[in-house]
């Protein structure tokens, strides 16, 4: 019984943790993307609308990231204690960037002078870009592998400065911007929506290119990754992924072309993210700190994992319920605030 619990609990938790991270990626992805899109959209009223589409929900989006940290800490403490020191600088830069953009959210509305508004707009935009980029770097470094001996990180503090990790940083930034622009197509109308439709074309093209590049690059990193793509029966599991990517990309461009379609581009982008995420997951499985520590080696004892799982079974559905309720309350198109000016 304990034997099987020690096998299954980490598996269940790996799936749960991956789902939580995925939820974080798509939820905070579009609101980080909105920050990135400030580069393109300079108009003050339009920027207000963009931020207003996420103002009521961004705190909740960011909470998934805290959950990720806490779950990792409680359920896979060895992973938590090795990944974090290994990625010390990128994680710190990401956190600091998230702080800056998080408060800029609140501050930019409360500023009276145009100059201070511009300052907080710039820090919102810069913070979002750095946070997105660093999340990509973290992902890239993790996939490329972290040197660990006796559960202690033995690399250097600049191990993350590699072409692959930096490329992943750029890829995630582009991906988030696309999530943001398609989210805005759904939630806005008029001129802003037209701009976002145009921007989305470019971003979608770029994102597909990066997906191809990362897909070709990743299997070269480790022989175990390569095996997934060369050996039967693993191949049966991974082969549908590229096929589905092509199909979803088609739907994305269709949605962008058809001016009556508001929701399809966002849904298809979510689909692309899901496919990339699961593709990477399949590559890395069953390692949590590639290439040495598996989810079982990283686990806390079954008593800890079971304790949290018991609560998560009841609490996560409730959390999803009221999160959906909150999105429902603030549904519909967001328009400029000409009422006030």
């Amino acid at each position: 019984m304990t034997e099987s619990a020690a096998f299954w609990l980490p598996v269940v938790w790996a799936v749960l943790a991956a789902s939580a991270i995925f939820l974080y990626v798509i939820l905070d992805g579009f609101d980080l993307g909105i920050g990135v899109l400030f580069l393109k959209e300079r108009d003050h009223d339009h920027r207000n609308v963009m931020v207003n589409t996420v103002a009521p929900v961004w705190d909740g989006n960011e909470t998934w990231m805290i959950f990720g940290g806490a779950a990792l800490y409680g359920v896979f403490p060895v992973a938590y204690g090795t990944i974090l020191p290994a990625l010390y600088l990128p994680i710190l830069f990401m956190l600091l960037a998230l702080i800056l953009r998080g408060v800029s959210f609140e501050f930019r509305f409360k500023m009276k002078s145009a100059r201070s508004q511009l300052f907080w707009d710039a820090s919102f935009c810069g913070g979002s870009i750095v946070a997105a980029f660093m999340q990509g770097v973290i992902l890239g470094t993790l996939v490329q592998g972290i040197p660990v001996q006796n559960n202690v990180f033995v690399g250097t503090s600049l191990d993350w400065v590699t072409p692959f990790a930096l490329f992943c940083g750029a890829a995630v930034t582009i991906g988030y911007a696309l999530l943001g622009s398609t989210w805005l197509i759904w939630r806005c109308e008029g001129e802003l929506q037209d701009t976002m439709r145009r921007v989305s074309y470019t971003l979608a093209g770029l994102m597909l290119l990066t997906i191809v590049a990362v897909s070709v690059w990743t299997p070269q990193l480790h022989t175990t990754y390569m095996q997934h793509w060369l050996e039967w029966p693993q191949l049966a599991l991974v082969l549908p992924v590229p096929v589905a990517v092509v199909a979803v990309a088609g739907a994305l461009f269709l949605g962008l072309r058809n001016r009556k379609s508001h929701l399809l581009p966002f849904i298809s982008t979510l689909g692309l993210f899901f496919l990339c995420f699961s593709g990477l997951g399949i590559n890395v499985w069953p390692y949590i700190v590639p290439p040495t520590i598996t989810i079982w080696q990283a686990s806390s004892p079954p008593s800890s994992q079971a304790f949290v799982l018991f609560g998560a079974m009841f609490l996560l559905p409730v959390i999803l319920g009221y999160t959906i309720y909150s999105y429902y309350v603030f549904r519909g198109k967001v328009t400029a605030e000409h009422h006030y000016h």
Partner: protein, 474 residues
């Protein structure tokens, strides 16, 4: 005490970031409860001044909460970056508690925050009040879990130490959560949060009362109302907090006598001990200089009996003594501010009885000067309890020097500088905005954060946004 090592920087960085962080959750805990009370009173009495105050403080809450979330985000990762050994060893016990905090509290707060902020016109009044209560309950649940974790580090029990890895494994979750110091800390911290916010509210009200007096007019009804509410809190909660602090002191004496000795600057263990009012503890020479003391009072305060035995630092080996010069003063500042808060509360009762609560400029001035008193006392209390836990992270079991990550000094230094710069920008910005909001006098027809409320074409009834719209203030 320690050279410029990675360990020192790791500690300094952690203390710096928690020190900034702790103020904002405490502010949120107190303010969310105040908001729930205001909205509840408005629904019950229909008095529009309550709604005005609700909207006034809701704007403040949005800033405070955001600063709490972002600075807290750092904390949930800093355990791993700075204290990876600690995370691996204590993770099986503390991680699940943190995960429960996120699941039961953070999501609750963040999930209902949007509705609380922007939803008054979109959902019914009852539902909106429900959302406000959810946010407030969320802050309280969050405090409960974090204090359970913190208390377990101070008075650990219910664990099994794994021989092979040296990890703490959970033996009995009930014992882990309800560890001996948890109830005392929970009450003490909760009251501290309420009291800190009460004094902020009193300070803001005091400022507007003084301003109105200068301008030779009467302060608005809202200002007087919030001053009165804050003074009730001071009169009732400040004395209760003293009792709560006293019981926590007894608990600490039982479980962490070395901390008590360091707080008191006592070196020899003795009965009929004096209370040192002032002095400068000297760790090197094992003495306290320039002592000003009252005979017998030390035993009386700590043990509630005149000949009770009080611990001394010399009972413990040199390397296991908490750093007394810091604890001695942080503890005394907390006590001094606490006493002042009690006095202000009593004085306000007297003036209220005389009918001059809103006319006594001196009280208003004192309230203004005392507005940060609660937070300063809270920070001092936190320093006392955390520095007093040293040299351990898990008291008596895991040393701080065995908890730290193997992070190179240059990385630590880089990140420290980055933290200082970003925190400086963020907190200067935040505090400027808070002060600017405080400078606005709460008035009838207060707008609330709806100034930038998202406009949705779908959805429920859209009330006009004229500033003096009375749609909800009937």
């Amino acid at each position: 005490m320690f050279g410029l090592s990675a360990l020192f920087l790791a500690r300094f960085q952690f203390a710096f970031t928690v020190g900034f962080h702790i103020v904002f959750p405490a502010f949120s805990i107190g303010l969310a409860a105040y908001l729930a009370v205001l909205e509840g009173l408005w629904l019950k009495t229909g008095r529009s001044a309550y709604l005005d105050l609700f909207k006034y403080w809701l704007k403040i809450f949005s800033v405070v909460f955001a600063m709490g979330v972002v600075s807290g985000l750092v904390m949930s990762y800093e355990f791993g970056t700075n204290w990876s050994q600690f995370s691996q060893k204590a993770g099986p016990i503390l991680g699940p508690m943190l995960a429960y905090e996120v699941m039961t509290a953070f999501f609750l707060e963040a999930g209902f925050l949007g509705v609380m902020m922007f939803g008054l016109n979109r959902v019914g009044k009852g539902l909106h009040f429900g959302a406000t209560c959810m946010v407030s309950i969320g802050t309280l649940i969050s405090m409960t879990w974090i204090l359970a974790s913190n208390s377990w580090m101070q008075t650990p029990q219910g664990y099994i130490i794994d021989e092979a890895t040296g990890r703490f494994l959970p033996g009995n979750w009930w014992q882990i959560i309800f560890n001996p110091s948890f109830p005392f800390r929970l009450v003490h911290m909760g009251l501290a949060a309420f009291l800190s916010v009460a004094f902020i509210v009193a300070g803001v009200a005091g400022w507007h009362l003084l301003k109105a007096r200068r301008e030779d007019r009467q302060a608005s009804e809202q200002v007087r109302l919030m001053f009165s509410m804050a003074m009730w809190m001071a009169a009732i909660v400040a004395p209760v907090q003293f009792l709560a602090g006293d019981t926590q002191g007894l608990n600490t004496l039982e479980y962490q006598p070395a901390k008590i000795a360091a707080m008191e600057g006592d070196w020899e263990s003795e009965g009929r001990a004096p209370e040192i009012l002032f002095g400068i503890p000297d760790m090197e020479n094992e003495t306290t200089h320039y002592k000003v003391q009252i005979p017998l009072l030390g035993s009386l305060i700590l043990t509630h009996s005149l000949d009770g035995k009080v611990p001394g630092l010399k009972d413990y080996p040199k390397d296991l003594r908490p750093y007394s010069p810091l604890l001695f003063f942080s503890f005394r500042i907390m006590i001094a501010l606490g006493s002042l808060m009690v006095l202000v509360g009593l004085w306000s009762l007297f003036l209220r009885w005389k009918g001059s609560l809103y006319d006594n400029a001196l009280l208003h001035r004192v309230a203004l000067w005392m507005s940060p008193a609660g937070f300063i006392a809270l920070l001092c209390g936190w320093i006392t309890t955390e520095v007093g836990r040293q040299p351990y992270t898990v008291y008596g079991l895991l040393k701080t020097s065995d908890s730290v990550s193997e992070i190179a000094l240059p990385s630590m230094a880089t990140s420290m500088i980055a933290f200082v710069i970003v925190y400086f920008i963020v907190f200067t910005g935040g505090i400027t905005i808070l002060l600017r909001s405080f400078a606005q006098e709460p008035h009838s027809g207060e707008e609330g954060p709806s100034e930038h409320e998202p406009h949705m074409s779908a959805g429920t009834t859209q009330v006009s946004h004229h500033p003096h719209n009375a749609g909800l203030a009937e």
